[in-house]
């Protein structure tokens, strides 16, 4: 019951945040220099004064700002995020069409990063001054400092030209389309490089974090107790240490979700992955504001969802929170 009330509170808060994002979107569009009607008129190749006035009336731009805001919110509530002037399609459809590819890329990278990062951290924490430990430090520094789009381009160069063993563009082979299992295998092959690029950044962060936390946890009294009881080292690590070490990792994964998404945008642009990143790139290039603002809204929505999920996972792995102590 406590948990339900808590989640309900979170959802109300989420709704308020999303409303605020919409109001921000609206304000930004209106603060931006340039008249949208003139832009549309320009795209049409020039327009007379009457046509401009008609456009103004059509988009409701002749009404007060407050009325316009209310119309905007009302439209969004009905799933209408506007019309893309570049793609000539409702924005919502554009986004929903591309969302799965982005989620596919983002989650496969996230899972790889958490698994590999945690493992590297845990193993290197066993010998804080060992070779692997120094390796993790170097990797985390390099992963932090390398611009993600550059890492992507370097991998593209390596596997697209020097040693061409992996596809470097798109999500599937369009020349010889495959079906069934072969198709899945093809998509998986196309996923390797983008996913690796995106995961590297996060592997760098998580391995460093996991290493520091693990060193901390391993020096705790309950670990000494567990060892003193004569438990095998594997049990000590897996049952006693890992769970406590995971809590800060879960926090960071939740906090970083926005960065994961932004990273996916850059990586998709490098590897022509047909997700939201490509959409963002095109809408920037064409100054397609409705699409861009909707992408910002949807990314905020995903970050909020990630935060709520993190909060729930947190409660599942940390009994202190579950008991309502915090």
């Amino acid at each position: 019951m406590n948990l339900v009330a808590h989640i309900l509170g979170k959802l109300v808060n989420a709704a308020a945040l999303l409303l605020a994002v919409l109001v921000l979107n609206f304000c930004l569009i209106h603060l931006a220099p340039g008249d949208p009607v003139q832009v549309i008129a320009g795209e049409m190749g020039g327009a007379s004064a009457e046509v401009v006035a008609a456009l103004r009336a059509k988009y409701g731009l002749d009404r007060t700002l407050f009325e316009q805001l209310m119309t905007y919110l009302h439209n969004v509530a009905g799933g209408d995020f506007g019309y893309s002037y570049y793609f000539n399609e409702p924005v919502l459809g554009l986004i929903l069409q591309r969302l799965p590819a982005t989620l596919y890329l983002a989650f496969s990278s996230l899972i790889a990063a958490v698994l590999v990062g945690t493992m590297l951290g845990v193993v290197s924490a066993r010998r804080p001054n060992g070779l692997l430990s120094h390796g993790v430090t170097v990797l985390s520094l390099a992963g932090y400092a390398a611009p993600i789009f550059w890492t992507g381009l370097m991998l593209l160069l390596l596997f697209g030209s020097v040693w061409p063993i992996l596809p470097v563009s798109g999500m599937a082979d369009v020349v010889n389309p495959k079906t069934g299992f072969a198709y899945l295998l093809d998509v998986a092959k196309h996923l390797v490089l983008p996913s690796l690029t995106l995961a590297l950044v996060f592997i760098a962060q998580y391995s460093r974090l996991a290493r520091v936390n693990m060193i901390d946890v391993l020096s705790a009294d309950y670990i000494r107790t567990a060892r003193a009881k004569g438990l095998p080292e594997t049990v000590v690590i897996v049952k006693h240490a890992l769970r406590n070490m995971l809590i800060p990792i879960v926090t960071v994964v939740g906090l970083q979700f926005g960065n994961l998404f932004a990273g996916a945008v850059l990586v998709e642009t490098v590897f022509s992955w047909p997700g939201m990143g490509r959409l963002v790139f095109d809408s920037i290039l064409r100054r397609d504001y409705p699409t861009l603002m909707a992408v910002l809204f949807f990314s905020a929505m995903m970050v909020i969802a990630a935060n709520i999920i993190t909060d729930i996972v947190y409660r599942l792995i940390d009994p202190r929170i579950r008991a309502g102590a915090r």
């Binding site: 605020a20 611009p147 993600i148 850059l266």
Partner: protein, 300 residues
């Protein structure tokens, strides 16, 4: 001695002491920094990069926007690091572009830290409804992925270096705010703060002269790292075509040449390596500073 001079007690607060005492922890921290090999290595790398961008044009006077040779000339005696898709000299681009990239990084980080410290300080110092309101605002900003938000801002408000710098500065201040707020909340109720307050020190004096100096060590570290993040952001924006087309920068070089990566590897590899080295140097310096100012964490 009938009345106590309030200024005496205010001055007795450890951080409010002027140079005589403040200099020694700074010196100690500096000495500690010099003992960290990676920190010194980072500082040296950074110095080379900064001097290179400042004095490079004197040694290598080639205009980065001029056509210097045939497009896609590989690195050779004519063009040491090759030319790009328009035939512009890559080395000249690196030298001139570094100035814009490093400048954007430094100024944007300054903006980030200024906003973050102001919000965090007010929030942590006053608590109550001011804190609640500012935490809500910070929560709102945390929901927007910083790079995407910066992209939207630059797209809407124009691709000029100032807009880009302001946009980067405006989107990623929440981490600094959280950090400052925590420090201020920790320090707010300590005895020396109470003593200053009892002696009649006003809020502005307490915040700026008493609490802030004591909260500085972690803020300095986060400011250092913010420069690196800002440089990566500038690169990301330019890569997506949102750089200032009239100012050469490392990110712009990668963004403009990325479609030709298979024809001319040098045109993207070198500018990217420059960004990598700059951010690496800055984070090494950040680690060194962290070790120097946070003695408790030194063993990590």
């Amino acid at each position: 001695m009938s009345t106590l001079d309030p200024s005496l007690i205010v001055a007795a607060a450890p951080a409010a002491l002027p140079a005589a005492k403040a200099a020694s922890p700074t010196k100690a921290a500096f000495r500690q920094f010099l003992r960290s090999p990676s920190g010194v290595a980072g500082a040296a790398m950074l110095l080379v990069l900064v001097l290179g961008t400042l004095f490079g044009p004197l040694v290598y006077p080639v205009d980065p926007l001029d056509i210097a040779g045939l497009p896609f000339t590989p690195p050779s005696a004519d063009a040491l690091l090759g030319t790009d898709y328009l035939g512009r000299d890559i080395l000249a681009g690196l030298i001139h572009g570094g100035r814009a990239t490093l400048m954007v990084g430094a100024v944007a980080a300054l903006i980030t830290i200024s906003i973050g410290v102001t919000v965090g300080a007010l929030s942590g110092f006053f608590g109550g409804w001011i804190d609640s309101a500012l935490v809500k605002i910070a929560e709102f900003f945390q929901v927007l992925p910083p790079l995407l938000f910066a992209m939207v801002l630059v797209t809407l408000f124009g691709q000029k270096l100032t807009t880009i710098t302001l946009a980067i500065g405006a989107v990623s201040w929440t981490a600094a705010a959280r950090l400052t707020r925590a420090e201020f909340m920790r320090l707010r109720d300590l005895d020396f703060i109470k003593a200053s307050r009892a002696a009649g020190a006003g809020n502005a004096h307490l915040i700026l002269r008493v609490v802030l100096p004591n909260a500085l060590p972690p803020i300095i570290v986060s400011a250092t790292l913010a420069i690196g993040v800002a440089i990566l952001f500038e690169g990301g924006l330019s890569f997506l075509g949102l750089g200032d087309p009239n100012t050469m920068s490392w990110g712009l070089m990668i963004g403009q040449n990325r479609n030709y990566v298979l024809d001319a590897w040098w045109a993207v590899t070198f500018p990217g390596a420059a960004i990598f080295l700059a951010v690496l140097a800055i984070s090494l310096v950040g680690d060194g500073v962290n070790d120097a100012v946070n003695p408790r964490l030194r063993r990590r």
